[in-house]
């Protein structure tokens, strides 16, 4: 039996973390809701299992997603994760083959060199030592990158790196010490016995020349063991908990479990799966355009892990979803933020170290208490009956050129339609939801649902992506919900209306709630390509920017909005398009305040391109009524003259 007291810190740490992870996983599993438990069971014995194993290899070890986003950062993460895995894997085999017996305790593999200093002199043994040295060198290059990144983040192509707490720093120091101390300990032992390969052997020989290598190795083996033990014990209260948790997350996600709208196991597992890699920080427009540097997803999750108050962080977000689409772990940051918004400024009740390890989940704040109704003043009018119901939305009422264009298109299509909120309708409810006021939002939703059901609509068309998202997700309607870009595209495809070609260079800005929020990317672009010269932009689809006008953020104020709008407008108009097209009235309004280029909604462009039909009862209007809100904003948005050609005579 080979034993030495220095292995004790390592053994304590290792068995602690193994036990802890098992207990924690069991607890998470117990706290899942019953349907989610069944999902997980089905996933575990089904196809999701293989998929998860593959994902664990590709993501948790190779870090493919980070590689895609940023090569150097990906290399850093991969060399540490995959390298460490290889070191443990081949180390175990080494101990098994060359050790005194088969099936050793884990410490035999980790401290193999200490117990078998004569190993690796020649033949196959030397080749194996070479492999082990190669893996260690691979890890050390990644570690070097990590250390340089901490002090100078542009090295790995990151503008910012995450800030740390004191606990994080202790764990980080322990992690940084692990591999250099292993290198020095192995080198000194190798130097004393004249073994070791290209890395430990050469370094050992150099050190042994002027140092008493045999005696000096022992303290470094102690240091190596202590660093490992400290790291394992600190793991549950730091971001490094992501190492075991991410495996659990991958299984849960592949089994079909999602965040939902309540605090639960899945959102907690997500919270602990964040490695604070900082990709969300670089993606965030509040960071690079408005200089708000402490509210990004990584910080939200870090504060949740530490049990700190997150109400301020949760409120200060545009909910554009850029971080969601970029997160290499696939954490649903926006739903987690919404959960925090719903629970208001309720504090998490654990801040001491004991609760850091075993938190009392029962004390988490639930959804705020429900309040009495507040919108009793809404009238229950009977709407007009029609097949197609057009709901302009609040923001479209501020940009009436869009609703006018839509009415022109609807008239030209010859369909029976009604304009549901002609006289200024009720809000769709999403702004209330975004402020965490679901109960109030439900009142508004019920009111609008009643109107839409009564109208007998088969298709509900809306001009506002904010309304569109909530109609699709939170309303229970019989009607098909379409955004106007989809609707116009369909009219064109079915030949109900015909389009001319506008000889204009157009760049399309995909609104957040329509694109990332609802997955509608292709229809607006196809429609624009049909009627104009659509240029590909550098911020397409998932990577599209937010205009900054988002209702989700009530905190940043007009100056912050202006900064974001100017930044994104500058990027989108870099190729000098004639028109910056968008599909959202709020985007249109926000961007047109920040650029001199004409900003137009897709419906306006479609109405411009509309082939004029001679419809009885319609004559050419002579003058264009002034676009009042655009006049207020001080931007002359070159209102197209031919837009009112098919306006009905009032």
């Amino acid at each position: 039996m080979q034993f030495d007291p220095f292995i004790i810190p390592f053994n304590i740490g290792l068995y602690f973390i193994l036990g802890y992870v098992v207990l924690r996983s069991l607890r998470w599993f117990m706290e899942l809701s019953r349907p989610d438990k069944l999902r997980l069971q089905r996933g575990f014995f089904g196809r999701a299992f293989g998929q998860s194993l593959r994902e664990i290899f590709m993501e948790s070890l190779l870090h493919r997603s980070i590689f895609k986003a940023n090569f150097r950062l990906g290399y850093m993460h991969m060399s540490l994760a995959f390298g460490w895995f290889l070191l443990i894997f081949f180390g175990t085999i080494e101990a098994d083959i060359f050790g005194e017996k088969h099936l050793n305790a884990p410490y035999k593999a980790i401290f193999f060199k200490f117990f078998n200093p004569e190993h690796g002199r020649s033949g196959f043994e030397a080749a194996y030592s070479f492999l082990m040295d190669l893996i260690l060198a691979f890890i050390l290059t990644g570690l070097l990158l990590a250390i340089v990144k901490r002090f100078f983040s542009p090295v790995v192509g990151m503008k910012k790196t995450t800030k740390h707490t004191a606990t994080d720093r202790i764990a980080l120091t322990a992690l940084w010490l692990i591999f250099p101390s292993r290198l020095i300990a192995e080198s000194l032992t190798s130097g004393a016995y004249g073994t070791g390969s290209f890395l430990t052997g050469s370094l050992g020989n150099v050190l042994a020349d002027f140092l008493p290598a045999g005696r000096m190795a022992y303290p470094f083996w102690w240091l190596y063991s202590i660093a490992l033990g400290t790291f394992f014990i600190m793991l549950p209260v730091t971001r490094y908990m992501h190492i075991p948790t991410e495996l659990f997350l991958i299984f849960m996600r592949n089994s079909g479990i999602r965040t939902g709208d309540r605090q639960g196991t899945y959102s907690e597992v997500e919270t602990f799966s964040c490695s604070s890699c900082g990709i969300c920080i670089d993606a965030c427009q509040l960071n690079f355009a408005a200089g708000v540097t402490d509210i990004q997803g990584a910080y939200l999750l870090k504060n949740l892990r530490n049990g700190a108050d997150t109400s301020r962080i949760a409120a200060n977000c545009l909910m554009c979803g850029r971080c969601d689409s970029k997160c290499p772990v696939g954490i649903e940051l926006s739903p987690i933020r919404m959960i925090r918004r719903r629970s208001g400024d309720a504090q998490w009740s654990y801040r001491n170290l004991y609760n850091g390890y075993l938190r009392n989940r029962q004390s988490l704040p639930q959804v705020k208490k429900e309040l009495k109704p507040s919108f009793g003043f809404l009238r229950k009018d009977d709407p007009d009956q029609a097949d197609v119901v057009y709901f302009a939305g609040c923001m479209t009422h501020l940009t009436p050129s869009i609703s006018r264009a839509m009415i022109n298109i609807l008239e030209a299509s010859g369909l029976s339609y009604s304009f549901l909120d002609k006289g200024g309708g009720v809000c769709c409810g999403r702004p209330l939801m975004l402020a965490g006021k679901d109960h109030e939002a439900r009142e508004v939703i019920n009111h609008n649902s009643g109107l839409i059901w009564k109208s007998g609509a088969k298709i509900l068309v809306t001009s506002c992506p904010i309304c569109f998202k909530v109609f699709r997700e939170s309303y229970h309607l019989d009607a098909e919900v379409l955004h106007h870009s989809q609707f116009i595209k369909r009219l064109v495809d079915t030949g109900k209306i015909k389009m001319n070609f506008l000889r204009k260079k157009v760049v399309y800005h995909s609104p957040c709630d329509l694109g990332r929020g609802s997955g509608i990317y292709s229809e607006p672009k196809e429609l624009l390509a049909h009627i104009s010269r659509l240029e590909p932009g550098s911020f397409e689809d998932d990577n599209s920017l937010c205009c900054g006008g988002s209702l989700a953020n009530a905190v940043i104020g007009s100056k912050g909005r202006k900064k974001i709008a100017s930044d994104m407008a500058g990027k989108l108009t870099a190729m000098h398009p004639d028109i910056l097209a968008t599909a959202c009235p709020l985007c249109k309004k926000t961007i047109s305040n920040a650029t001199g280029v004409r900003v137009a909604d897709i419906a306006e462009l479609a109405a411009e391109a509309l082939v004029r039909k001679t419809v009885p009862g319609f004559v050419q209007a002579q003058s264009v009524s002034s676009d009042a809100p655009d006049a207020v904003s001080g931007v002359n948005s070159a209102n197209p003259g031919n837009l009112s050609r098919v306006c009905p005579v009032n």
Binding site: H397, C427, L432, V555, S558, V632
Partner: protein
């Protein structure tokens, strides 16, 4: 007295010494842009709720600054937070945050629980 068609009306003077301006102070601390408000009424004229009922953000701002919290707390809940007022404000007041902060202020103090 009523038989003569007269009644005693409640006093309408605003007593700044006794009014509780803590809610206003809380809101202004969180959203200093409220001080830029010129009470033009643009917000009230574009208001979605104001289209249906006598709800005016301009009035709310005045009540808030005066500390007339009793009239304010029920009025606040008529807001649908649609954000049109923020977009039309000529002074760049972040009106949506003003309302959210005022709601928060009333939620925080037990005396004025909404």
């Amino acid at each position: 007295m009523n038989r003569f068609g007269f009644s005693l009306s409640k006093g309408r003077q605003i007593n700044y010494d006794t009014n509780d301006r803590s809610a206003a102070e809380y809101v202004i601390a969180g959203e200093p842009s409220l001080l830029a408000c010129i009470e033009c009424g643009g917000c009230a004229s574009t208001c979605t709720s104001g289209n249906f009922t006598s709800f005016s953000l301009r009035q709310l701002n005045i009540l808030l600054k005066r500390g007339e919290n009793d009239s304010l707390r029920d009025e606040l809940r008529k807001c649908m937070l649609c954000g049109k007022c923020t977009l039309v404000c000529p002074r760049g007041v972040n009106t949506r945050n003003v309302i959210l902060l005022a709601m928060e202020a009333f939620n925080k103090s037990q005396d004025y629980a909404v």
